[in-house]
Subunit: 187 residues, 2 copies
Amino acid sequence: MSRWQPGARERLQQAAHELFAEQGFAATTVPEITARAGLTTRTFFRHFADKREVLYADDAEVPAMIATMMSEAPPAAQPLAVIVEGLRTVAETPFEPRRAALRARRELVRTDVGLQERDLHKRAALSEAIREGFLARGIDTARASLLAETSVTLINVALTEWLDRDDDRSLYDIILETLATLRSSLN
Amino acid sequence: MSRWQPGARERLQQAAHELFAEQGFAATTVPEITARAGLTTRTFFRHFADKREVLYADDAEVPAMIATMMSEAPPAAQPLAVIVEGLRTVAETPFEPRRAALRARRELVRTDVGLQERDLHKRAALSEAIREGFLARGIDTARASLLAETSVTLINVALTEWLDRDDDRSLYDIILETLATLRSSLN
């Protein structure tokens, strides 16, 4: 067996998602996932720190994507413009094409305290990435934290709304509406 | 020994805070805390679920305080007025008198991943209490989540700023300034 199986990561994710759906998250073990994927547990742990991470693997690039986007925004761009552009990027690239997968993950998170914790951590890590992006743009600490937390709130509230809906309104559209709601609520 | 020692809770908190300051959070055990307080571990666990909870015991009433305040606000009060009044209550009663204790806790949280997790949970629980308060006031789900998360962000950002400062500006004053910053950042 070669060290890097071609497509191993995707095969493991596929097998894990099937097993989680069939028998629940808690009841599924790493050996069951690797057996279904026809791979070893060693290969599993080369790709994922634990079985929770399988569910978050496709979001792994989000903080780095945001850091890049924020560092490339024109120096004169206002924070709100940076936020809106960042939210558009995140909405359209890693989230929009994965509505079914994100819905399935949300169902699993509801059943598992460990996954809820992982969710809180991912939220905090995303906020930290945005905060650092604003600090690097010369925004002071308190305002950078405020803008970062608010960005994450906008993503999360809009994501929940979008996953709840059955129509084809885009996530980005709902984010803009959520921003408008926040703005009007504060005035 | 009577079932409820008078002042047991306060003696345990005092002993725990001393030991955390002397030897760190991770190195301190529940038996050390109870030995210093002159009480049994059974008494400890009647008051606290674990040693982390000792640090959050004085915040325990915050979600219930917010729920009461929100249910007693006049039905016609706008969400922003409810938020501002709620933040004033939280700032003035459970937080303002505890600046030194909150600073000490923040230092401990920085040293311990388990405490960071507990902090994220407390944040989520506070947000949930505020969200439920808004739902009970007839606000729709998405807006209730948005207002709740934003309230928690305002508290947390202002609390950090207040703990960082050496002057005698009040926490409530900094919360109002943080709200003004958020409002201007979104316009």
